[in-house]
Amino acid sequence: MEDYLSLMPALLRGLWVTIGITVGAALLAVPLALAAGLARMSRQPWVSWPAAVYVEVFRGTSALVQLFWFYFVLPLFGLQLPAIAVGVIVLAANAGAYGAEVVRGAVNGVLKGQREAAIALNMTSRQIMQRIVLPQAIPAMLPPAGNIMIELLKNTALVSLITITDLTFRGQLLRSDTLRTTDIFIIVLLLYFAVALLITAGVRLLERRFKTR
């Protein structure tokens, strides 16, 4: 037991980095997903097209390739960002692209009659979106959004490959220091699992709150 405790301080330091990146990227991803999802449904092609390209590019390529591209290629164009910023931005963009599809699906899932009734009541399209569509669409977005959050948490492990000392990187460092490979990776996996369970519980709580309203 004491043996395991000796491994914990370093791993916990990594865990905080992982949690920080997850939270930061999630906070960025939510507005991004809403904006891109709604923009993609716009009737104006110069609004919907860029959104469609963004969503398809980030959903169609690998998250790790995206990270490497932003990490290695952007500096060549003169844009030098710290690794942690690249990590948060790319993971947010990735999750945002998946989220945009969730937003689109949920908004399209609102019954057509609801919109038609709102139009008949002479509401502006902004009012329809804010008062009729979104309040019904948001509860439908929550369960898939929770899944995307867990995907995001899992994807944060990739930032260890662009030199950020997150939980996975700490595990690797500790492995080469102590050679206690099995113990370390089991603890690392359990820590990720614990955070994922927290996210699931949080989403359940949100779902219940939206249901009672």
């Binding site: 390529t61 690998s62 948490l153 595990g171 996996l189």
Partner: protein
């Protein structure tokens, strides 16, 4: 100063990347083979009536789905040799991809199995069919075709996760492009080409999955 994107250089490295792409596609197909078979086994175990069987299966599925594939890969890569199992990095990677996506496939199968009307199982019981024959002869033939598109989506997802193999020293597409990058100090062309290759192939695959979905519906996937 060379141009921002050197087309001649891009064309020159394309064959090398093409060769690496073969490894990537190979890993995806073999990984998916593991995933669809192991996934079905996991789905059936999870539905077992004995709690001693179904509870560990459920926990395993949940655990694999909520921990990073990269760490799982490291785990297999570093821990398996300790236990005496010797595998090439590529085999280890394929196994990791397969096990990871098996957990996702298990959930897909479960949805398919649960969508089969209860009356089908009851009728099979009434006809005195054994549990095995009910599963293989009655339930699965109705449960699997409707979920094929969902499995296809995971094939695309797995394809996009193959670059993780580079972390356990497999020289696949991404690793090849990084090697070109470090040898020539030009990262723009190889990494951009890799991105475009992934985008093209996954868009084509996604289109294929959609066609398959429409085809299955026409074929009588409706219930």
């Amino acid at each position: 100063m060379s141009p921002v994107f050197d087309w001649a250089f891009a064309l020159e490295i394309l064959p090398t990347l093409g060769e690496a792409l073969i490894i990537t596609v190979q890993a995806t197909l073999l990984g998916m083979l593991v995933a669809v078979t192991l996934g079905l086994v996991l789905a059936l175990l999870r539905r077992a009536r004995l709690k001693i069987i179904s509870a560990p299966a459920a926990l395993f599925i949940e655990f694999v789905r909520s921990t990073p594939l990269l760490v799982q890969m490291y785990f297999l890569f570093y821990v398996l040799p300790v236990t005496g199992v010797q595998m090439s990095p590529l085999t280890t990677g394929i196994l990791a991809l397969g096990v990871h996506y098996a957990a996702y496939c298990a959930e897909v199968y479960r949805a398919g199995i649960e969508a089969v009307p209860r009356g089908q199982v009851e009728a099979a019981t009434a006809l005195n069919m054994s549990g095995w024959r009910t599963a293989v002869g009655v339930v699965l033939p109705q449960a699997i075709p409707p979920v094929v598109p969902a499995l296809g989506n995971y094939l695309v997802a797995m394809f996009k996760d193959t670059p993780l193999l580079s972390a356990i020293t497999v020289v696949e597409l991404l690793q090849t492009s990084k090697m070109i990058g470090s040898a020539t100090f030009r990262y723009t062309e190889p990494l951009t080409l890799v991105g475009i290759l992934f985008l093209l192939l996954s868009l084509i695959a996604a289109y294929g999955v959609r066609r398959l979905e429409i085809g299955l519906q026409r074929f009588g996937g409706k219930r």
